[in-house]
Amino acid sequence: MGRRLRDWATHLALWTACLICVYPLLRIIAVSLRPGDRIISTDLSLIPAGATAASYASVLGGTHFLLWLWNSLVVTCTTAFIGVCLASTAGYAFSRFKFPGSRLGLTLLLGTQMIPAAMLLLPLFLMIMKLGLTNTYLGVIIAYSVSSLPFSIWILKGYYDTIPRSLEEAALVDGTSRFGAFWRVVLPLSTPALAIAFLFNFTQAWNEYLVARVVLTDALRYTWTLGLFELQGQYLTQWGMFAAASLMVTVPVLLVFLYSSKWLISGLTLGGVKG
């Protein structure tokens, strides 16, 4: 008797939780579809009366939204590329070699995660300013490039640890160098982990707001996060455009996340447990 009741209660609780999780997203959709004269209203319906795509058209045509997306894309891809290149070799060194400072180095890498972002940002900003790199892609790229490095190194080290050494030993017997064994055997086998590290770097930089706020002040250089903040404004005057832009950014990110979450989570636990 208790069993069916319990199942029903479980479903009910999970349904409520799901609704709370999804509802803000549904609201964004609803607001983005509102017609121009009813954008600010107390209406709660999910498909508003007279739904149109006008907000989408005006955000694409009337603002720099596409440019902001492009700026984000350039910055993010460069950052993630540099980050993965640096992490792939460093992670291998930590995974396969015992050298003076290897344990300390790994611990210090974790320690960097404790540093408050605002603390690092201040001297970085002053350096960027002194180099004359404010309002350029380079300024943001430099500030982003190593921020995800420690975590990427941990992920990749954890993955390399799971690759049997006998594969490299076989390659060594066949006459490759130690580096050749890494380059031709281990690295190709690690494509999934490299992809995760890239994705992690990518999402970190893609969703970043605080550094960009400080380094980029010219609206033509904004990343999309800055642009979105601008669109929302203080009094909801452009709520429809904000919602349309939000949705266009969120949907691809959601899909990528849902697709990759299994990998990402296994990467998280691998890096954490194998320490």
């Binding site: 319990r6 199942d7 479980t10 609780a13 999970l14 799901c18 999780c21 999804v22 803000p24 609201r27 964004i28 107390t42 492009w70 350039v74 460069t78 590329f81 540099i82 640096l86 070799t89 460093a90 060194a93 050298f99 290897s102 960097t112 995660q113 404790m114 408050p116 972002a117 605002a118 603390m119 690092l120 201040l122 001297p123 900003f125 002053l126 300013m129 002194k130 350029t136 892609y137 380079l138 500030a143 190593v146 490095l149 890494f182 969703n207 707001y209 605080l210 996060t225 979105l228 903040f229 929302q232 709520w239 939000s246 969120t250 990110v253 996340f257 849902l258 989570i265 636990t269 954490g272």
Partner: protein
């Protein structure tokens, strides 16, 4: 746009060239340290390059001295050992050194000088700043980092923020994970929907939720009005509560996923054995689930505390605009605003050092405490 793209490509090429040069330098030092020509050749080349590039004799001489020391270190201490790991690590270490270690050292220097909006021109012209001793540190404790809120209030609020948020994250995540771990239909679909707050870009989520707390048109107050209740001025009168609600919504899915992973790794047999011995559901939770979850939960809680302590995003995005309130600020968000809204650079550097010492102290305490409980549970 094209020129900035070119700039980016040039930058990447520059980094690649630099890394190649670095690796060449290391290779020579690792592989040829016992050749007779090594010391004179390396000193000559480095000193010559430095003098040529810097166009100054002083630079050349100092480069020669440094390089001689490095070369002697490679000859007598390193002796070619561990060459591959260090060559693999070198680019990453250099990046971390330039963009984390050096800035931190610069920050310490900054904290003992006086850099603010009125002295920044002098600094960019001459590169030097007046030394002021511990003045900035005294100011951290005596004056407000923003306009009204005091340092001690910020400390208290940060502690409250961290405890409440992490507590609710773990509690919410634990309940949801327990529900999801039951043998019911549609678990995968529920799980997918439940991670949406984590998967959404945080900026979108926070800004959208801030809209929903709008006093007149936001969902929350519209709902209250329909229920016949008075509207609440969330953003102006209760910003801290608003930020907490938003951050709890954002943080539960992460804990849920971590805890669910832990739950699924606990073997059914424990529960079967306990059921045979007549243990109640609560006893099973207390004596099987919680102890076996501890290895997963402890690092997740530690990480959660550090993230929550350091969380500027939510608070800044909700209250950061001009005329924003200070009633929700915690230490780090006040630091961000002091540096980049009030342009008090040196003060912020001292403030940042104080904050990181607080964090360090708290984590040392936490480590001792968790060691202590470990020995109790054995």
């Amino acid at each position: 746009m094209m020129t900035s793209m070119l700039q980016v490509l040039q930058f990447v090429a520059l980094i690649a060239a630099f890394v190649a040069l670095l690796e060449l330098y290391l290779h020579v030092h690792f592989a040829h340290h016992d050749e007779r020509w090594f010391l004179p050749a390396s000193v000559t080349v480095v000193a010559g390059l430095a003098a040529l590039l810097g166009r100054s004799l002083v630079l050349g001489v100092s480069a020669a001295i440094v390089e001689a020391a490095v070369a002697l270190f490679f000859i007598h201490v390193v002796r070619g050992r561990h060459s591959l790991p260090f060559m693999l690590l070198a680019p990453g270490l250099l990046g971390l050194g330039l963009l984390i270690v050096y800035p931190l050292c610069f920050e310490v220097y900054l904290a003992f000088t006086d850099l603010k909006l009125t002295t920044i021109l002098q600094w960019s012209r001459t590169g030097t700043l007046p030394f002021v001793g511990f003045k900035q540190f005294v100011k951290v404790f005596t004056s407000s980092p923003l306009s009204e809120v005091t340092f001690w209030r910020l400390v208290l609020r940060t502690v409250g923020w961290t405890v409440v948020n992490v507590g609710l994250h773990v509690a919410g995540g634990f309940v949801l994970a327990l529900l999801l771990n039951r043998d019911i239909r549609g678990r995968g679909i529920y799980r997918t929907f439940l991670v949406i707050p984590w998967a959404m870009p945080q900026v979108v989520a926070v800004l959208a939720l801030r809209g929903e707390f709008h006093s007149q048109f936001g969902f929350v107050n519209v709902m209250l009005a329909r229920l016949g209740l008075a509207p609440v001025e969330w953003l102006t009168l209760h910003p801290f509560l608003t930020c907490t609600l938003i951050n709890v919504w954002l943080g539960i899915p992460f804990m849920m996923v971590i805890i669910l992973g832990g739950l699924q790794s606990i073997s059914r047999h424990y529960y079967d054995a306990a059921a045979i011995d007549g243990a109640s559901a609560f006893q099973q939770l207390r004596h099987i689930t919680l102890p076996l979850l501890k290895p997963v939960l402890a690092p997740a809680v530690t990480l959660g505390c550090v993230w929550t302590f350091n969380n500027i995003n939510v608070i800044y995005l909700v209250t950061g605009q001009a005329g924003g309130t200070e009633d929700a600020d915690i230490l780090v968000s006040a630091l961000y605003k002091a540096a980049f809204t009030y342009y008090r650079y040196s003060y912020s550097a001292a403030f940042a050092i104080v904050i990181s010492l607080i964090l360090l102290g708290a984590s040392l305490l936490w480590m001792r405490f968790s060691k202590g409980t470990e020995s109790v549970y054995g």
